[in-house]
């Protein structure tokens, strides 16, 4: 799940960098990558948690 999402995010960042060079520079926006990785981790954790709860409930 993380790999494809990361590719999309990096792709979008470079696209914005090329299309609107004044506003979005990659050198500025790169921390978005860190945030996305972090979000993916947290979502993965929450999903794992709810899956475990379901299993216990059965």
């Amino acid at each position: 799940m993380l790999g494809p999402v990361l590719l999309i995010v990096i792709g979008i960042l470079f696209l914005l960098n090329n299309i609107y060079p004044g506003v979005f520079r990659f050198g500025r926006m790169w921390p978005v990558i860190l945030i996305v990785i972090g979000l993916a981790k947290v979502i993965e954790y929450i999903q794992g948690q709810s899956a475990a709860n379901k299993k216990e409930g059965e």
Binding site: L2, G27, R28, M29, W30, P31, V32, I33, L34, I35, V36, I37, G38, L39, A40, K41, V42, E44, Y45, G48, Q49, A51, K55
Partner: protein, 213 residues
């Protein structure tokens, strides 16, 4: 590789008897070894005791990244040791951590930061060395506990690590982003980074107390 029972879940281990890939929900841990449901059932019924044939998967996993010495040397280059071990996500993290430390060090002379860069540069080859060694032993069906594992245990359970690692990444990413967008001056905030060490220490103490109590 994905779990044999859950095709969409990546495996976390292999059954040491039949070699099937298993996800977190399917592993059965018995005295430090991982078994699948079927093999555990066989073992309970005593099928292994009588026959004990060589496990069907005598085929060794032939993969790159099982030479600990080479892993150590490559580990001196940020990320490359992990790539050698086939851990690409970890490699990316090593590069990002290294780059973050170096760019933080750029904001001014900070001795502790320089030391942590040195520590990280020395940590990576050892990490790569032990991972390679672990993989080597795992191919023979032996699960090795390395000093790196013990270090990671200090930081809590695997699940917890995922959550707190994620939150830490969001916070760090947010700080850098706000700094880059000139919401505040990054150099000023960067001075406070040793507070992170204090927080980490307090958290580890708390973990330690929980374990003891």
């Amino acid at each position: 590789m994905n779990c044999v029972n859950h095709a969409d879940v990546p495996n976390v281990a292999f059954c040491i008897r039949c070699g099937r890939a298993l996800c977190n929900a399917c592993i059965h841990n018995v005295r430090g070894s991982v078994y699948c449901e079927a093999c555990l059932g066989d073992a309970v019924e005593g099928k292994t005791a009588a026959a004990a044939p060589p496990p069907p998967s005598t085929k060794k996993e032939v993969v790159a990244g099982t030479n600990p010495g080479l892993a150590f040397v490559l580990g001196l280059i940020p990320g490359v040791g992990a790539i050698y071990n086939g851990e690409f996500v970890k490699a990316a993290f090593h590069v990002v951590i290294f780059a973050t430390l170096v760019s933080l060090a750029d904001s001014g002379p900070q001795p502790l930061l320089g030391l942590s860069i040195a520590a990280f540069v020395f940590y990576m080859p050892f990490e790569a060395y032990y991972t390679a060694k672990k993989r080597q032993y795992r191919a023979d069906g032996i699960e090795l506990e390395t000093p790196i594992d013990r270090l990671q245990q200090q930081f809590g359970e695997v699940k917890d690590r995922e959550l707190w690692g994620g939150i830490a990444l969001i916070v760090i990413g947010g700080l850098f982003l706000l700094g880059n967008l000139n919401v505040f001056e990054m150099a000023r905030i960067a001075r406070f980074w040793p507070a992170a060490l204090v927080v980490l220490g307090v958290w580890m103490l708390k973990k330690h107390q929980e374990k003891a109590g």
